[in-house]
């Protein structure tokens, strides 16, 4: 059943000023699917480290380099935030739109961003409207949803 918090963003019409983020609750019971999807964003070095589907491991405190905010992350998300996202090939123009947006949120500690800001981050200036249409349509891609105000 959809929770009120999940429902709220759906009731408001999104705009270029709406903030989006990864709603990890959207993945709900499909944590294995999330784990596999996260694996696809790992750098070559870490891909070999996380070959199994084992989701267990010690949680670590990841500190946002811009805000100082701390998040408890599982090993794969920690590797993505602290290492893989810092690599040159993490985000390129060849990365698909949804993957690129997802990667931005993985790298910034899931701080919400507007379509304009996302367009800037993924190097597709002027494509904010495409991002808005993608993220605010009926279909939810990879848990990318508006933030409930």
């Amino acid at each position: 059943m959809i929770s009120p918090a999940q429902l709220a963003p759906l009731l408001v019409k999104s705009s270029l000023e709406t903030h989006f983020h990864i709603d990890f609750e959207w993945w709900g019971p499909h944590s294995r699917a999330l784990h596999i999807y996260l694996q696809s964003h790992l750098c070559e070095e870490h891909k070999s480290e996380f070959t199994s589907d084992d989701e267990k491991g010690e949680m670590a405190d990841w500190m946002n380099p811009e805000t100082g905010e701390v998040q408890r992350l599982d090993p794969i998300r920690y590797a993505l935030s602290a290492h893989c996202s810092q690599q040159d090939r993490y985000l390129t123009l060849k990365t698909s739109l949804v993957d690129a947006i997802f990667r931005v949120f993985l790298s910034n500690g899931n701080q919400s961003l507007t379509p304009r800001e996302l367009a800037h981050h993924i190097g597709r200036e002027g494509k904010a409207d495409v991002i808005l249409r993608t993220l605010s349509g009926r279909r939810v891609y990879k848990g990318l949803r508006p933030v409930a105000e």
Partner: protein
Amino acid sequence: MVQQQQKQTFEEWVDAFELRPADLEFLTHMLLEKETPLSTEDVTATILHRREGEATMQMRQELRDASIYMPGASYVVGQDIVFPIFNYAQGRVVQTREGSNPDQGTFQVVRVDFEDGEPRDFASGVADHVLNKYPVGKSGVDGTLAERMPETLVGEYREQLNQRIESQLLASREIVRLAGYWFPRDLLFEVNEGHLNLAEAALDMAGGGPMSTEEMLPELDFPQDVNSKLQTFSLNYALQEDERFDEVGPDGRVLWFLRRLQPLEVLHPPLRLRYDPVAFSPDALTPELKILADEIDDEFGDPVEISEPDTQIQIVLPFHHRWSGTLPLLPRIAHLFPTATLSPRLQVVLVDGHSGERVKGWVVRPERFIWGLRSWYEKYDVPSGAYLNVACGEKPGEVMVTFQRRDPISEWVRTTTATKNKMRFAMKKYPVSIEYADEMIIAVEDVTEIDELQINMNEKGVPFDRIVLDIFRNLATLTPQGTVHVRTLFQSVNVLRRVPPAPILALLATCPYYHHVGDAYWRLKPGEFEDG
């Protein structure tokens, strides 16, 4: 979930920057105190310093007993913390614990309760973090950096902010700008009619100019107790507001010229160079035709991206410029010419690259031409369609023009005459001693006939498409295939009517009686147009 509220990027902060009445008041007082006009850069720095002080005071009031969050500091349970990066959100530390991160070393994590939200964790005891270096403020991270540290405004943002401040200062009308400097209108030294008459006389004696303001000042008998910079600024402003004077100085130098002594063709461009825009649909141009249009250099064509400006550029001399004694101010050669501070017209020295002779020319930016080459064209019998090289001169403000010589032999070239109110083209033997572009050369025996025909057609208001059709039909008779090169058509149409390449190509693309035979050639489809 983490939401960053109202954080502005640097660009957004600059875009939204508005001058406040207090900024203007502060600036006016400062200019009054210094009695010296300020450049836009200095005005920007002054306003940002004022904002910096204001932001600091405001922050002190808002903080009261709370501490600003810095990852390097230590916090205890019960302590209030303010987070400027989250729009000054304030919270209270409710828990502390050791951080757990193999890469980070030892640090603490403090849990902070916010009044309207979930508790959030923040690092403390981290020596190396960007927030330890820069206190942040009300407008968000980057905005506050700008308010707090004007020196950090560099590159594109500085220029953008300067432009915003300039446009708002101009709109305020309280502060006037001249040659990039600003001063309050009410505080200008009064320059009266007598001073202006003396300035006119001084310029008259100098053959009209150019003359700098400093050279004029001793003639005007200003009071000695007025700051010399204010004298210069006030006189410049008064001269600018008087239509007898024109500022013609290149590259930041303010030089004055009497308008009535400027060449007539500089003040009133010849008919040949006047472009009365032709309505056409740019959508009619396919990418292929757009390339063809761009390949024909024209000062009214679309600007073409230049990767790196050259110091010597070859152009083809168009008919309308050859017979106006001018050069086109093409986008790709514009950087070779000095830019004016105030005036749309400025003086330039044109150097004959073959003899070294120097003549005074004029850059006329609104109509996009350089005047002053008539005698040079006549001296060397330069035909329209000739290749010319335009290059930077030895000194600033000088531009050198040369051509490529060749053996003076008679060749079959396109010639034009105007008889019985019609322009006729023919191929004739003509002596040419300068390299030229085959498709563009048009020799003329009596240009006054052409002038009369042009005036006549202009008065009659002969439609553009009719002119093109008549010329096309005539040009088509010059080749056995009946084809016409688009460059030839462009050059020939411009003999009678000034028009850039795009409207001509759009006409070729949309009229059913023109047939594109490939490359840059067209021919007429017989019987598909009405003669009359």
